[in-house]
Point group: C2
Chain length 148, copies 2
């Protein structure tokens, strides 16, 4: 088994956590991460999930996977900022509720519901309408260097 094959096998065993499936819409895949849009129109909020099984902490990734994760987080942040012209980016790996490693990348505005607090737990999610969702996903897919 070559390293390349073992990586493919690992990716094959990976599944997105059902809570993340329920709360998000899929944007697409970067080389390491599935990129998700949080289905909460109160914010412009991406979640990046490395497609590796059994990963809870960034410490469970290899150093080279962590380097790729950092660059994919930076690409997501750059895309969000370009699309939204936000005042600040918030980046976080928490995982107290959903343990599968996932990194939040959130565009923040001085005028948003939670500012200057972190967004978690401040307001119930407001689902995107189908038209909103289609528009946001199209912008993100144009701004991100997705596979395929």
């Amino acid at each position: 088994v070559t390293p390349r094959n073992s990586r493919l096998v690992a990716e094959d065993r990976w599944e997105l956590h059902p809570q993340l499936v329920a709360d998000t819409a899929a944007v697409g895949d970067l080389p390491l991460c599935r990129v998700l849009l949080m289905d909460d129109a109160n914010y412009s909020w991406l979640i990046l999930v490395p497609r590796r099984p059994d990963v809870v902490e960034v410490l469970d990734l290899s150093a080279s996977e962590r380097a790729v994760l950092m660059e994919e987080v930076a690409q997501a942040a750059d895309a969000l900022r370009a699309i939204t012209a936000c005042d600040k980016l918030n980046i976080a790996a928490l995982g107290n509720v959903v343990s599968q490693l996932h990194v939040h990348v959130i565009a923040r505005f001085r005028s948003d519901l939670a500012w200057p607090r972190p967004v978690w737990g401040v307001a119930p999610a407001r689902r995107h309408t189908p038209a909103e969702l289609a528009g946001v996903l199209a912008s993100l897919r144009e701004a991100l260097p997705l596979a395929g």
Copy 2:
């Protein structure tokens, strides 16, 4: 001016934000970051601050600085977990209040004050006693690969 010299000049212009000075105790320096202990005995909480001037977002660092930041965050997380045997690590770069780029690395327990919520804004900081502070700093300095 060689790249090395320009890096040293940049580091020379860097100053820790006064709010971070007020809220923390210095643990020491990794190659890129100043490592700080949040002076809140409710949690085991480190803050890493890249010693580079005028940096607000991770996007303001170069890709190679971001890679170093990620590995220093991993070292801090590994040290905290080794010392505390925590249930989860929380890692976040928010900066809505203090804009100087700083990364929170927090050891979380199912029994802590804020669990499973993020720690920000849940309870007022409880300052360490001098004896507590000396003990925590000694453990951290032993666990981290600090300069000097």
